[in-house]
């Protein structure tokens, strides 16, 4: 109890050596994912496993043997100072980068080497750190692109307006409108997305990602550039998304924001995992404090 549960990188090297009971204070769910080697978790509880992932760009090691697991229905934070490898990790998970070594499993299936659109249709949706909408399409059209991910309308049925086209177009439109309402920008549906305000664009990006019907929604610094009030609204939205049954992975470097909403957090620094645990645990971890304040780890 006096020693907060933290997994250090040394421990990861020998996963079986980690005492399971160290996680006990945070509850049994915690123990499963944190204390047990993630590769051995066979529960239906685990949604996504990042297993010993290393990613090198030439000589630069962007991710160094990173392992963690996300559980269904939680809001999971991936934090770290700038350049820690958060977005790289994210990109590896969504198929933008292929890990140099290690495995990533989503609902028990490896997604390494899968195409980006396959991963999306498999149930992982994401937003981008710097908003990447389709600027000349309307807000509604943007969301409909996401909704199209699960549509089966072929070029032929679109060309000849076959029944499937009408049916999917109608349901896709209705669902997209509903999502715009969900994120609170339904009144802007017909507006070209470049004309939306920054905050609206961020919300639109979330709606577009939700339209792909994800099991896991990955948000890459969704609060960047937000003022405190907007951040509060966003946190409420993230909770609302979680309450619909979607697991949320949140990347942030604003500690305060993450602390308020996440169930569990992994902290990266220089591509290595330096801590994992509940927000309270992570906050008190000397390594995390050192990483954020720049104090050498052994001095802390």
């Amino acid at each position: 109890m006096s020693e907060p549960h933290i997994e250090t990188n040394e421990e990861l090297d020998n996963e079986n050596a980690r005492p399971v009971d160290r996680a006990a204070p945070t509850g049994s769910r915690q123990a499963e994912a944190a204390g047990t080697p993630s590769a051995d978790v066979r529960d239906g509880d685990v949604l996504l496993e990042v297993d010993d992932v290393t990613l090198r760009f030439g000589g630069v090691v962007a991710l160094d043997q990173v392992s963690f697991a996300l559980r269904k229905g939680e809001i999971f934070g991936l934090i770290g100072p700038n350049g820690a490898g958060k977005t790289t990790c994210f990109n590896a998970m969504t198929g933008v980068y292929r890990p140099t070594s290690g495995g990533i499993r989503f609902m028990g299936q490896s997604i390494v080497g899968k195409k980006k659109h396959e991963i999306t249709r498999g149930g992982i949706a994401r937003t981008f750190q710097n908003v990447r909408l389709f600027p000349e399409m309307t807000a509604l059209e943007n969301v409909m692109v996401g909704a199209d991910a699960h549509h089966k309308t072929s070029v032929i049925s679109a060309l000849f307006r076959l029944p499937r086209f009408w049916q999917e177009e109608r349901s896709g439109r209705a669902r997209s409108m509903e999502l715009l309402r969900f994120v609170g920008i339904a009144n802007r549906a017909g507006e070209v997305s470049r004309n939306l305000s920054y905050g609206e664009q961020r919300r639109l990006e979330i709606a577009r990602a939700l339209a792909t019907n994800p099991t896991l929604l990955c948000l890459d610094e969704p609060a960047a550039g937000f003022n405190p009030a907007e951040k509060e609204d966003l946190l409420a939205l993230i909770r609302k998304i979680r309450d619909t049954g979607v697991t949320v992975l949140l990347i942030e470097h604003d500690m305060r924001l993450v602390m308020g909403v996440t169930d569990r957090i992994v902290v990266l620094e220089f591509g290595k995992k330096i801590a994992e645990g509940t927000p309270a645990e992570v906050r008190d971890n000397p390594k995390v404090i050192a990483a954020y304040l720049g104090v050498p780890a052994d001095a802390a």
């Binding site: 969504t94 933008v96 195409k115 980006k116 659109h117 999306t120 249709r121 949706a125 994401r126 981008f128 990447r132 909408l133 389709f134 600027p135 000349e136 399409m137 059209e141 409909m144 692109v145 996401g146 199209d148 991910a149 699960h150 549509h151 309308t153 070029v155 679109a158 060309l159 000849f160 307006r161 086209f165 999917e168 177009e169 896709g172 070209v192 470049r194 004309n195 577009r208 990602a209 792909t212």
Partner: protein
Amino acid sequence: MTEVAVTSEKPPAPKKQASRGGGGVRGWFGRQPVWVRAVVVLAATAAAFLLPYVGDVPVIGPQIVTNGVDWTSALFNMSYYVLLALGLNVVVGYAGLLDLGYVGFFAVGAYGTALLTSPDSILYSHTGWAWLAAAPFALALTMLAGLILGWPTLRLRGDYLAIVTLGFAEIIRIVATSTDTLRGDRGFTSIPHPPGSYSDGSPIFGVRDATPYFWLGLVVIILVILGVRNLDRSRVGRSWLAIREDEEAAEVMGVRTTKYKLWAFAIGAFIGGLGGVMFAGEQSFINSQTFVLQFSILVLAGVVMGGSGNIAGAILGGALISYIPDRLRGISFGGTDLYEYRFALFGIVIIVIMILRPQGLIPSRRRAMELKDREKEVAPSE
């Protein structure tokens, strides 16, 4: 009495405007109820079918008609240029794939027809194929050519793609010039005309009057417009736009970018091939000199000038790139035919349009809003 006359004349006025297009008219058109729009579209279509007789209209008629070129032939030329512009608009305007070798598909369509039908072809045996029978095969061939160009260039964008497509068109032209089977400059003769004859036995599609070819072209254009419009307003069109706007984001949102880029190439090629098949059927003769690079550039200029990513713009642009040079023919200026200066004049026209209306003559709805938005942004600082 005079009042009656005025009111009866009123309705046609906006119709004329609509067929000419323009920003304000476009907005007006969008706000009208369905039946008004239907009437306008029908009227525009009817007007298009009556174009061969425009020379008979007093005062205005003679100004419109081309003097140096047979008017109906000029109209037919316009029809296949419009077709090409519509096809290129799918590739460049919708999917954002800069294709500088679009003439290649036009050539494949024409050569496909010639190979199957012309007595000069090695495939010819005694009777030869009818034009209509050859058309589907020629079109299948162009779609295949589209895929052959599309497949290796999937990873390329912008300038790099443009260079490869440029090379593609040149390859086709050079192969046509130097391969014995494709007969180079000698070309293919006696390519059959489209089928059909009048009650007196004379063929509808003859050599003297190009009017039926123009009408055939119009019918094909209308079908292509309907098809492209259906695709644009569907998942397919959204996928194309998404790819154009941000390819990676599109893929991350579940768009099969490979599939839709290949479809864009194939559909663009198909429409270009249609132009080629019609061209071969009307001209009855093609050789490798027909399919020069300028052709591709001209059609691209038409698409950009008319308003990229927009069907009405492509139609207007395609029609203009064909009409302007034909209209210049036969007008002499300082002893030379203005036709000789067509590319210079054309260049000037394009530069002027691009300065005054960078979004094209009939901008796409989205482009127009984007530019309006920029104006708003500029306004407060002034």
